[in-house]
């Protein structure tokens, strides 16, 4: 086939054109989503009220947690935590995690978290809850007490293994925290999961806080919070972004109960019996993921701002704190736990933290863009959404 030099060159234009067309197709959706919905202006108070009045009983959808806490050497933490199977709380500290959820009233929910060739599913149907982990085929069956202590919390059963909280749960708790310490505003409308939303912005006044602002995207039609973002100071990208990518407000179908498949290991935990959660956990036969210990602390702190993002992992009984106390208030709260025996050496915490010392003593600081955690050499742990110097000051006074 005698082709002239010119014709030869021209043929190479075909793959170039194909590549260009593909990149155009890939990036076009991002450009078109820049449009903003046409919504009437409302005040922050109206928006908060809208959320409080929101009464979405049933929905199903997909939500995503993207976290970028800027922890150095997070892979060392992950490697250590991977020794356990199933849920790995350290995994939630970085990357993107997707889960699907279906909710039908306060008594029926299911959450499914697909991983790479594995899956964790949680089911709640009335007085029964199940946690299925495809790794090792383990099932934990919880029998829940009939009376719910807190009606507001009914969307999440007290012991139900719901590893990632839904955005609406997180936001409602956050709104309860609104105090004079916070600057509340509403930004321009946007779209989340194809729904028109208002975004409520909460910015702490305190200079010690590591949080620049917390954004809550609220469905303009029914007041359901669809996305929560936490942006640390000095960053434009959120450190935590938990939001729906797809949502459907119709009543979800399918079963909410779970039948353990043949060959699986079933552990039953009867929570109706006397003895608190700690007692029930202590009877847990399987070895508990050791990384859960230190992480529990950060999750507690998150919880004070209503932002617990990780699974409520059971405390390893051997290293539970003797006492905890809270210093400071609102955004600058610091939790100090004493008497915690931490296996710092073996679990990659050493690689992820830096040594610090001062008039208050010495220890190791785990610095993230959002939370700071101080592991003191005397066995205390202090954690909070405050900068390192405020954390050290809290330790010195506490």
């Amino acid at each position: 086939m005698p082709a002239s030099r010119r014709a030869r060159r021209l043929r190479w234009l075909v793959p170039v054109a194909v590549a260009a067309a593909i990149s155009l197709l890939a990036f076009l959706p991002t450009l078109s989503s820049a449009a903003t919905p046409d919504l009437p202006r409302i005040t922050a108070e109206q928006l908060v009220a809208k959320v409080k009045q929101s009464n979405v009983q049933a929905f199903s959808g997909t939500f995503q947690l993207t976290s970028d806490l800027g922890i150095p050497n997070i892979s060392s933490l992950q490697g250590a935590a991977q020794q356990g199977t199933g849920l790995n709380p350290v995994d939630f500290l970085s990357g993107t995690h997707t889960a699907t959820i279906a909710v039908d009233g306060p008594d029926r929910q299911r959450v499914s978290m697909p991983g790479s060739l594995n899956e964790v599913d949680a089911f709640h149907d009335g007085s029964n809850a199940w946690l299925w982990q495809s790794d090792g085929h383990t099932v934990t069956h919880y029998i829940l007490p009939a009376d719910k202590p807190d009606a507001n919390d009914a969307s999440k059963p007290p012991e139900a293994p719901e590893p990632v909280r839904t955005p609406d749960d997180m936001a409602k708790k956050l709104l309860d925290q609104i105090t004079p310490s916070t600057n509340v505003s509403v930004t321009t409308p946007d779209y989340v999961a194809d729904k028109a939303v208002y975004e409520l912005v909460l910015a702490p006044h305190s200079a010690d806080s590591t949080i620049d602002h917390v954004g809550i995207a609220v469905d303009a039609h029914n007041g359901m919070p669809l996305e929560v973002t936490v942006v640390p100071k000095g960053q434009t990208k959120p450190a935590i972004d938990l939001g729906f990518t797809k949502i459907d407000y119709s009543k979800p179908g399918g079963s909410f109960s779970f039948t353990p498949p043949p060959g699986s290991t079933v552990t039953t935990k009867d929570l109706t019996k006397k003895g608190d959660h700690a007692g029930a956990d202590a009877q847990k036969p399987e070895p508990i993921n050791p990384a859960a210990g230190p992480l529990k602390m950060t999750h507690r702190v998150h919880g004070h701002h209503g932002e617990a993002m990780g699974p409520e992992m059971p405390m390893p009984t051997a290293s539970g704190p003797e006492s905890t106390k809270v210093v400071g208030d609102d955004w600058t709260q610091v939790i100090i736990a004493s008497g915690v025996q931490l296996p710092v050496r073996g679990f990659g915490l050493r690689e992820a933290s830096t040594p610090v010392s001062g008039a208050w003593g010495s220890g190791r600081l785990l610095h993230t863009s959002l939370a700071n955690v101080l592991f003191l050499s005397d066995g205390r742990i202090a954690a909070g959404f405050v900068n390192a110097s405020a954390l050290e000051a809290a330790v010195a006074h506490g």
């Binding site: 793959p15 299925w132 085929h137 498949p261 043949p262 060959g263």
Partner: protein, 266 residues
Amino acid sequence: MLLAELATLFRRLRVKVLLGVLAAIPAALALAVYLSGGPSSGRGPTFLDQVSHNGMFAALAGLTVAIPFFLPLVVAVVSGDAIAGEANLGTLRYLLTRPSGRTRLLATKAATVAVFCLAATVAVALGGLIAGVILFPIGKVVTLSGTTISLLEGIARTFAAAGIVAASLLGLASIGLFVSTLTDAPVGAMAATAGFAVLSAVLDNVPQTRAIHPWLFTHHWLAFGDLLRSPVRWTDIVADLRLQLGYIAVFATMAWARFSTKDVLA
């Protein structure tokens, strides 16, 4: 022409041996589980701990084990050889004397490589299934979501998974075909293609390159497991197939641009 090419390919001793080894991988896994007398729960590759409960899982365990390394290697060998091998043997000239033209020859070679990808993954699935049925009981299949499906549906989903894995390899195969048009040394083309697979896998495991992860052809290689959920999760499978289509479109046209204007001397 396609049939003739296929017959030539599968008559080769090299290809027969490769397919045999592929089928032996899950069989060896199943045998190892059988001899060690039971599962080590929660350890080793996914699906492997299920093999002793249900022999059918040997096929899926085989796919899981073969896809990171052996399958790409085999595809690199066959696709890298496609054009360069003919050039090396001096047979490319004779193929081009046929009136069908270069574009048609390239298309035939591409189709042959694609059929081989499917043959390779089906060999893994079949090898696993046969070994599993011989060594272990079979029965209802437990999905990743903890639900139970019938054995027949499980087998159907396993072969569908083999099909998805085959499709996942097409991106690499088209890279191999392009590289094969660049050189007359088939070994070089094979090595370069395998190198691309390794590079893509390495980049996919480095968190610092997270921005390009969705664009790496190895990124969704484990998506076939989503067929074993209930309901089946299509998101990643669809993303995988679209990505492979993109790679095929770019590299097949590059192979065409190169091959249709190449000076064939050998």
